[in-house]
């Protein structure tokens, strides 16, 4: 009887660790191949010709058409800068500069990737089509309610994520300036 209990305990521990760590590795990924800058997460080897096993598993699990390393880099934020999950009930200010890139886009989506911007409006922000301050920085607002400056109206309820895609960028490359800072996501009102 004791042998069976010990065996059961071993199996439970093995399955919990085996599948739990795998799920964590491919969801959060920070310890296994993803890089986090503030609230933004990127799998930096995803566009590489020789991705590591974790990145390869991440690509297989998500099935997304990944950007090549030579094309750019995509960052995903599911929380604001304070670590709170992004909610469509709140208004968010995205504030700051981006690393050097030919251009970038910022698109809010549902967790399954569906677009949530207003149907008859722009799908997201494009760096060449936003109002900027004299120092080049920009304040972007994402919310269901009216906001000043660069405002993107979103629809629906529930959680969402922000996809920041830098095209032709030097981020994480040796050719870069070393400034890999990304904008903050600040929750203003709910």
């Amino acid at each position: 009887m004791r042998f069976l209990l010990n065996l059961l305990l071993m199996l439970v521990v093995a399955l919990a660790i085996g599948f739990g760590v795998s799920w964590y590795a491919l969801t959060d990924g920070r310890l296994f191949g993803a890089v986090q800058i503030g609230p933004w997460l990127a799998w930096t080897r995803a566009g590489s010709p020789a991705p590591d096993p974790y990145t390869r598993a991440y690509l297989a699990r998500n099935g997304v058409l990944q950007l090549g390393l030579g094309e750019g880099m995509q960052f995903i934020a599911t929380t604001d800068s304070d670590g709170q999950p992004l909610s469509r009930a709140c208004r968010y200010r995205i504030d700051g500069n981006t690393p050097t890139a030919t251009f970038w886009t910022l698109v809010p989506t549902a967790p399954d990737g569906a677009m949530i911007a207003r149907a008859d409006g722009p799908p997201g922000f494009q760096s060449a089509r936003i109002a900027r301050a004299n120092d080049g920085s920009a304040q972007l607002y994402v919310s269901k309610s009216l906001a000043p400056l660069n405002w993107l109206e979103i629809t629906g309820d529930g959680p969402f994520q922000l996809l920041l895609t830098l095209y032709d960028t030097t981020v994480f490359s040796s050719a870069g300036t070393g400034d890999n800072s990304l904008p903050s996501i600040i929750r203003e009102a709910c």
């Binding site: 521990v13 399955l15 297989a60 699990r61 099935g63 997304v64 799908p123």
Partner: protein
């Protein structure tokens, strides 16, 4: 007590083994990877324009709604693949994928290519023939080597303004995807 502890340690070690197996086998077992999603789309040697991403609609490939996309599926068993065309004077990029979704090669028009895309994809045997100068190729052809014979090439084009999207998509649809004669 000691025996229970040993079983716990055994469970941890077995768990790590399961974890490694999951990570290594997932790419082969995943049913909804990029290849599965693209397999039913388009024909060989014919450019396929992806539909624009619409609000509220699924976006399984996570395409950027600001961009226009075209894809060519190539089978290198019939000869080296070539994707060529003239693209508008705006940002565009090209990436070559293998069936697992791994990017074999990618570049942008900022790398001195200009408006003309002329990309050749060769398998290892064809690359050897190329090195032996047994395959004639045009000067300036961008050469990419693929380990496998099934590849797909995706061209991303960024219209500066949404109103230009249709015109840019029309340019993308004129891409030529074919096998080179050997």
């Amino acid at each position: 007590m000691v025996r229970t502890l040993l079983y716990l340690v055994g469970g941890v070690l077995l768990g790590l083994l399961i974890h490694i197996m999951v990570i290594l086998t997932l790419p082969g077992l995943a049913g909804h990877n990029v290849a599965a999603k693209l397999a039913s789309l388009g024909q060989l040697n014919k450019p396929l324009l992806f539909d624009a991403v619409s609000p509220g609609k699924p976006n399984p490939l996570r395409l950027d709604p600001e961009l226009t996309y075209a894809m060519c599926r190539l089978d290198l068993r019939a000869g080296p693949g070539e994707v060529s065309g003239t693209l508008p004077l705006a940002f565009w990029s090209v990436a070559v994928y293998d069936p697992s979704g791994t990017v074999l090669y990618s570049t942008t028009n900022r790398d001195g290519i200009g408006q003309t895309l002329d990309l050749g994809v060769f398998d290892p045997g064809q690359t050897r023939l190329l090195a032996e100068q047994k395959i004639d190729i045009a000067t300036g052809l961008l050469i990419v080597e693929s380990k496998g014979d099934d590849v797909f090439v995706v061209v991303r084009l960024a219209p500066p303004q949404p109103a230009m999207r249709d015109r840019y998509a029309d340019q993308l649809s004129k891409l030529v995807c074919r096998n080179l004669k050997t």
